[in-house]
Amino acid sequence: MKLRSTTPVRLTALASAAILTLTGCMSSGADGTEGSDDDTITIGISLPLTGDFSEPGKGVQRGYEAWADHVNENGGLLGKQVELEILDDQSSADRVAADYEKLINQDGVDLVFGPFSTRLVVPAAQVAQDYGFLFVEPAGAAEEVFTQGFDNLFYAAPAVADDHYDYLADHIEAMPEAERPKTAAFAAMDDPFAMGTAYGLKTRLEEMGVEVVVDEVYPPNTTDFGSIAAKVADSNADMVVGGTQYQDAVNLIVALQQLDYQPKMAAFSTAPTNPEFPEAIGDKTEGILSPTGYTPAAPYESNKEFVDFYTEKNGTPPAEDEANAWTTGQVVAAAVEAVGCADPDPECQQQLVDWLRDNEVDTVVGPLTWDAEGRPQGAHLIQQYVDGEIRIVLPEESAEADFIADKPAW
């Protein structure tokens, strides 16, 4: 009897405690917003600081923090200091959604920046979309990011995977027909990003009449590249293109060298721009091409300032992850300065989104504009090993070295 009478009381107590907690959270959120309206702008971010993507995740964190310091040292955003609130999502897609939910709902942040990796960008963008937040992200080059119907998303990098080789394709197209490669061999990892890069170029080359003589797709767990290399070598294609990540590109290149296959042009995504690459391949890198989203040597106006500031702060020059994070900051800051607001109010967020749709932003990776789904409308720089060093060769206005059309033997 006694128990029966206390149960409803307990339930009521629990419910009221829950309500109190909820309202407490809400009001503290509202307070936070009002507080930040005064002197700070709080930016909520969730990053994979542990787990599978922790290496790039930490790079993005360094980029974001450097950007915030730089902004604060130069008078802040709209005259207010910028404060970052960074959570660790442990590389988990469930966790990242909960993190953005918390940042927006409970912590009452004014703006959000995106996480790292396509796998985390998609669920995070969904939360931002639900709350009407602008969502600029530093890592989501795969096509699936742009086909989910997000109208608040912008990818802060020069190009999506399909367009990485655009400058190379333009250059080949501009060559006299007799000098163009006649045949090309493709090998790509079965991965949306890696395949996207190779097939973007494949489409362009086919339009020019280049014959595709090998078209191999291999699973990410492939350990033996001898057979793929044998097919490419047997075709004796003028050009070999790898849609690759790091280890498969290195293994494939060595396997091709072992078969004494000598293409006139060789292009691989990702690996050649990695500092470990020349260490792995040795002195046989000459003439190898690769698209890259960022290089500290890029001639864009704000880039030198970024490289100097970052190098002074961290002791090493920034890499691509750091640059993409910085670019995200630049893009959001440009919209905030232009519109003149930075608060969680849907009206302000919508103004920011609308402004980015219609305007071009100058960043450390060049001027950026976007299509309706948030794809950047640019291309990656093309780098090539020239005299043992990787240098920008295309487009010509950014080139540090002349394009080597006939690759030396490897």
Partner: protein, 292 residues
Amino acid sequence: MSLLLQSLVLGVLLGGLYALLAAGLTLYFGVMRVVMIAHSAFLILAAYLAWFFTSSTGLDPLLSLLVTVPLFFVLGVAMQRLLISRLRPATLTMMSVLLTFSIALVIEGMLGFVFSGTQRRIRLPYGGQSLEFFGANVAVVKLIAFGLAATSLLALYLLLKKTQFGQALRATIQHPEAARLVGINTERVAGYGFGLGLATAAIGGTALSLDSTIYPSLHWHWIGPLMAIIVVGGLGSIPGAAIAALVLGLGQSLLQIPLGTTWAQTFFYLALFATLMVRPQGFFGGRLAQRF
């Protein structure tokens, strides 16, 4: 024609490497019914040690075998005596999967902690060189790996067939109780058998490191195909593992031409599936007890 010949050559070389990598796995099972999931993790550990040896001394990675082979042998004996022998015989096979799975995770985590997740490759002056053989190219490093495989498998076979220890080991495999009755210290023999298996992992890992990029989690890509090889070859049979490895390596390499990489890799699992349906004990050797 030249592609066919080239693929044949590559297939044989690949098969040789597979045989070496799988040899230890079939030995553990033959001697102790232990399913050693960590075998491929030890391969990668040996590959890392070879890389570390070469990058810090500048000497040829093959020299690291002088240290890693005895080291792995001792490690194997210790592992068998301290861990495996404590598992209850009734659940040995299943529990060994769990135990060695955790050992694999420990090795992977340790490699990541010590050497970071960065992908490494030994840069050899002869890494890209090849010899010509009737119009097909034979990479020097692949040839060395094949030579290592052939030598160690032959040595293992002779050891098992011709020495007193080999006889004791085979007796232990065939009938442990009878072996004990004739005075064989089966506990110690099993420990040495495990050590021998791990010593082949040292050689296999070094052979692997000559021609591939290594990273801590690479071992997960190897354990599946290696398991398939020893099941097709017949658990516990070294010649069976060698023949199955050659057949599967050649098959993979030749099927690559018409089918592409993804389907060529599936060949392993189709072979495994077919073996389990048609001849669950494997294609080579008779009953498990009469292998080698």
